[in-house]
Assembly symmetry: C3
Homo-oligomer: 135 residues x 3
């Protein structure tokens, strides 16, 4: 079971909640117990799991990471997006979550977020589910 | 094979060695060759693999990350734990380790650590093992 | 399917492109669809996926991370390589990538890099592939 989620980001840096889209792929797969692997095929984006309730958490994460890795810092790479590449390596481009009873096994306050660090752009997330279809 | 490890943290920030607990789940599973996925269902905690011998390494990691992401920095989130959420995204909440001959395939100096960034609290780690039971 | 890649690093900090070596393990495995897990069994190294074309990106990533986590910062650990341990936890030691049609499913600009943070040393990367051999 392999699927691609397409999304369009709207800002230079942005965290977009994609929990619902991933949940739908899990349900459609019919896999009852296993793992779902997410992979972002981009070098200026990432994926993370964090608070799904108060949007201020996401604002704080982005503000602090943008302060920690400044957009300009005498980088050599001429495209002007080295900061985005660095953030991508710190957040990472893959994530693995468990599936139990055909549902994503997230904590109560957890959501899955696509991390845009050099938008706006058209982006993709690969979703692969491995496991058993039987109860 | 799915199991939950429960733990109680004792400090605001703390790295707790859970290698023995994970090893025991691997042994009990009977899986000989495969992968074990660890997942922390919390948004102010994480998981990492690092030095298991000199406890000063863990002290240095925590001290430096707490300096890098200060507890207070004009964050918007009113619960006062934004720093913990940011550290969670940087360390990550999932980890995948190989299993060979029914043992965790860690390097000589590696241990698995639960990362508490907003304790003390009751915490969980999900453990899922996939692979073959035969030699 | 489990294999070990050996490499020799040449500098104190260095990102080494190991995409070709990993691709060869995938092809040799005969696995058509599944996931490949990479694991670095060291506590002063890591693994990341980033830009494979302009080498200046890698230079910028290393320069910025070495600035963010200074080599000396009154660390307690007496071996003098605490900065390397901290970078290892931030970059992470495991990575999961999808396999489709017996090929690594990387984005156009993505390469897999071994991260040396305390070289030069002899290093290893474990590669485990799980999935189906049939089309």
């Amino acid at each position: 079971m392999f699927e691609t989620i397409n999304l369009r980001t709207g800002n230079r840096t942005e965290l977009i909640n994609i929990t619902r889209e991933i949940s739908e792929v899990v349900e459609k797969s019919g896999i009852r117990n296993g793992i779902v692997t997410l992979f972002v095929p981009h070098t200026t984006a990432g994926i993370t799991i964090n608070e799904n309730t108060d949007p201020d958490v996401i604002i704080d994460i982005l503000k602090e990471i943008n302060k920690l890795i400044p957009f300009e810092d005498s980088y050599k790479h001429l495209e002007g997006n080295s900061a985005a590449h660095i953030k991508s390596s710190l957040f990472g481009v893959s994530e693995t979550i468990m599936v139990a009873n055909n549902e994503l096994l997230l904590g109560t306050w957890q959501g899955i977020f696509f991390c845009e660090f050099d938008g706006p752009r058209n982006r993709k997330v690969y979703v692969k589910i491995m496991g058993d279809s039987e109860a």
